[in-house]
Symmetry: D2
Subunit: 369 residues, 4 copies
């Protein structure tokens, strides 16, 4: 486990997040400063497992020159994907049916054959679970947490989250004037399937009047009451932020988009439903804006760039110190390392005793409870 390192690989998996390129850059430069070579795997593990898709190589040399000037760019120069989990890799049988097979040994074999001594794996819960499995099988692996939803446990924050919150807040700023000029209810749907961090932070920073998050089942009649109270005070508009995973309290199932909606759901089922109900029950004109993919892109904020660069450099130091099976974590003021075992499958929801939540309540923001 502690043989000297000469060559490492890095990959990025799961959804796109601002800061991925900064992690890559820091990893490559820090490795190069130690005399190590660094290679990038394309599209998660597909660069290794489906080499035929990559005429120019599924695993590419990353020199300092190759990663110049990328720290402030969104996206990932390596590509990313939600398909191609090596533990459950789709394989077509001769009869045309597709079943999932475990191809983690192919990944290990590739590392061995190419003299790759370790892997820096950047991704969310799914990617870190894979990283842990590879570690269990003997690969040296350090994970870097990535989720713009901020729902990963054991780290105070991840890169990408601040950028998403900043852009959502800017959008809320833009909507205030229009909502006020036209005396409308504006419903803004943001990401957050399992946790309401983006909705909570951007909603407070952007001056929303209601915030609906997965952690707090909502009763829209409370939101309606809030909107009407504002009207009586002469504040004839309201802005409600809704996390995509927010759900009504029992007995209000009509508000949830039915499962069969399919494609349209991607358009923001819950936001649309909430807007419709609020329009009916307040008598006011209500509109919905779905921020969706806009939150994943863009140049990372300086906060996220720094976090991502720190993560990449820390991953290299972790390998240098002989660590494996750990995730780099932000534990203010410094980074720390936590066992991948501890992280996998654990979610970080907004705690009910969070002072941030209390701040929102102190400001009079309605959570529908």
């Amino acid at each position: 486990m502690t043989s000297p390192i000469r060559r490492i690989a890095i990959n990025t998996g799961g959804g796109d997040a601002p800061g991925l390129n900064a992690v890559i850059r820091a990893t490559v430069i820090a490795a190069n400063n130690r005399g190590w070579e660094c290679y990038g795997i394309r599209d998660g593990f597909n660069g290794i497992l489906c080499p035929e898709r990559y005429p120019d190589g599924g695993v590419v040399r990353l020199t300092p020159e190759r990663v110049r000037g990328i720290a402030h760019l969104g996206g990932t120069i390596l590509g990313t994907t939600n398909k191609g989990n090596p533990l459950h890799f789709p394989k077509q049988a001769p009869d045309g049916t597709v079943k999932e097979v475990d191809r983690s040994d192919d990944v290990l074999a590739f590392f061995a054959q190419n003299g790759l001594d370790a892997l820096v794996s950047v991704g969310g819960d799914g990617s870190l679970t894979i990283a842990n499995a590879l570690h269990q099988k003997g690969l040296r692996v350090v994970g870097v947490p990535k989720t713009i939803d901020n729902d990963l446990d054991k780290t105070f924050t991840t890169f990408g989250f601040d950028t998403a919150v900043a852009f959502a807040t800017e959008c809320l700023d833009r909507l205030h004037s229009t909502a006020e000029s036209h005396q409308r209810v504006m419903v803004v749907e943001v990401m957050g399937r399992y946790a309401g961090w983006i909705a909570l932070h951007s909603g407070i920073a952007g001056g929303a009047h209601g915030i609906l998050i997965p952690e707090i089942p909502f009763d829209l009649d409370r939101v309606v009451a809030k909107i009407k109270r504002r009207d009586t005070l002469g504040r004839m508009y309201s802005i409600v932020v809704v996390a995509e995973g927010a759900e009504p309290v029992d007995g209000h199932r009509e508000i949830v988009a039915p499962a069969e909606v399919g494609h349209a759901e991607r358009l923001g089922g819950i936001g649309e439903r909430v807007a419709k109900v609020l329009q009916e029950r307040t008598g006011k004109d209500a509109r919905v804006v779905v921020l969706g993919h806009l939150l994943r892109g863009g140049s990372p904020t300086s906060f996220d760039r720094l976090a991502a660069l720190r993560f990449g450099a820390a991953a290299v130091r972790a390998l240098e110190e002989g660590r494996s099976g750990v995730m780099v974590s932000l534990a203010f003021p410094n980074v720390a390392y936590v066992s991948l075992e501890e992280v996998a499958g654990r979610m970080k929801a907004v705690p009910m005793d969070s002072d941030t939540l209390q701040t929102a309540r102190d400001l009079g923001i309605c959570f529908g409870d």
Copy 2:
């Protein structure tokens, strides 16, 4: 008509646009510097026609102090509305039915009774038509053009358009990295019911690969071919900007959202439809983002602030010079005045010989034709 002015009013009508407050500020300050008082009418003409809705007054004094620090704020401190056209004002009969009556005389009477000598009316085609009617009836009126769609004739541009293009371009920038990382087709719907200016300008500036505008009926198979051509060059993602008023060529009516869609249409019927067809025909994952209301809000760009301030100051100078029935127009490098008669009901579409359109074609952007 040329009696000295002591007191003027200003109103804002139609949809919200970044820069309205800058027009108001410039009008108030420039009027004040001439010793005139300035009053603001709330919500189009509703401040005059429905005074009962405004406990604090439907027409309010605007002092320089009142308009301090508002030039960079979105929205309008006066409010705006699409309802309340004095030429067709809704009136409820005793039997409960509603019919439209001409209440322009009530507006004129209000001006006479309150010693208001002139009106600066800021708005789009509808508002300028009203302004012209009031001028015909003897009111001194100067119009200021407002449309973020840039579809007003007789002026090179209006305030709000640059801000909308800038934000749409920023959104396109954000989507590039995500679309590329995930190898997707991204369809971005922007405003532009009758003219494709926002789609054209932001599409070129934001590096879109396809642009669909009302001026050019589109055949999606040409867009599909463009996307496939990009794939063969290894550029596995594409971005298509769609103006909300874009329409397919005859025989492809299935792409248009059916009229009965209603509320959902506000979510961006055409963008959703285009994404669905592109996904089916390219086999690629396609997503839609509807920018809609986000384009109306926000702080105006420096370009729009300057244009708006110039318009407001020019409106006051026009009144000082004894003009009425004119609209302030941007005729580079200076402002000019054009007759409201000439403007009303005229639309400015993207001309087919525009060098901007030619630039897009030179860059290989596909218009579906």
Copy 3:
């Protein structure tokens, strides 16, 4: 100490910082939600101690209406000042000489006479020392930390710092292209008299090649060597960030701006000196940009808005819980309260074992040591 609160005051002292208005807003709204009245003291304590300067009142009622829409605005609606410390207040004797007197009793008397039960005091080290003194004399006081330099101990961060880093990073981004196109050395001076946080964070995020901070005495010959090494690699430009308090190692005193420079020093003495020496010793064209006051203004980032709103709400909760003599502190993930006694006069420098510093070194950034 624990009598019920009905009326509180808030003031802001020291240098301007983005987020002050958000603190004020949260304090006012949270207090109002508890049935308390809130009053704002103008310009530190001057509103109390020099009432003659404020015809409209040196202490003003702050209603929720008064603090609407201010959370995203820079500056402070109350004003701020570095002059007017009540512990050392300037007093003119009959013979014209000025000496400092302790006027803290006047502050306490004002609170007593006006039924003000507590003070929320927002400021840096100086303001918190005053707050502590007032607390010692029996006033209920809660402090809110403010310093864009991030040099206050016992809190992970303060509002304003993220905004300053974000803007400095944006400026570095802008300078890269120009520096590269013209093959120049660009020296960028940022705030940080006693601690190099802004320089360190923005320098890493903005891709600087050298960072000079007060914590690490610098030898410019090392920076010269770094620049020349870049040249040999074909990277013909370099960017060096300098904190205003950075100092050379002993024996290089010629680089420090002489004390008598006075006014010019405000222009950025150290940056100018560093640029001059680098130009002489590298033979390259070197330029200096002093960001100074630009870092203090502007709309707070969403991170700073949220931090400021949390601080304001937490200050009100602290008073509600009967606390006094404490400062609100950010101790991720929640706020905490620390004794003002512990905070006063303590500085937070960049620790030499910080992983952020290590990240910079891993990226090859030169600190001149």
Copy 4:
């Protein structure tokens, strides 16, 4: 002159400006779509005249792939320089003295030897004069105007100017809150040696109270009076924008920085002097901020990107149509072509009858006259 084109070159000269890369991109793509090859000359004409400096080639092939994703980047991938005018090229004699020689024939020879049929030359007044000379000698040349100062005649605007104005305006926005909180006079020096466009546009958009431009000799006592008038109205701060080329009226020569200042002058001689005098004469605390190089960098605004892309595409169309010796010009709503002869050596100052200037006066802004 009208032989078919197969191969063209492009270069960029003079100071850096946001949008240069967009011109390059549009030129390359538009040329490629016509089946032409495109080559880029490094650092003005130095890539041809000093090939020894460029181990990787002073003239490089520009493929569509090479110019992907550069339209929104500041700077120029080709480099630029103010040194290396081929008409006055520095040559070292054997005795060590340097004199200037005309090397334009070397440029023409290079074009002939390498089968380069035409040149797109992007630059300011100096570069366009060179372009014209090369055209006179028989080279096919189309010029593209570049100046962030907006001081080129015969075009309504150039790319880079809008970006510079936007950033200067953002800086003014940031300074308002700080200036107000501290009751200061803030002097902001911006580019504009011969024309005050940036100062005028940003000053109006950014709400400055005074604007000093080269076109209007200033008397600081008038600015002092304006500042004092604001004080009496309770507006205790003022912001004054100064173009670097602004000059006092006769008899106030003490305000101009003496010629011998040299290096310090680059720090903003005139802004510093103006701040010093205003501080002395108003008794208020005055500070200076020099924006300088910050205005040259950064990502171009959507307006500038579009203008630059239109210019690049139009240059290619001009060559296709057989034109030479012309400059592409923005003549709203379309581009036009004007003779380089007409342009060379002509400056566009702010006209005294400009409605923009009149707007500033209507808003009460003081020009010191």
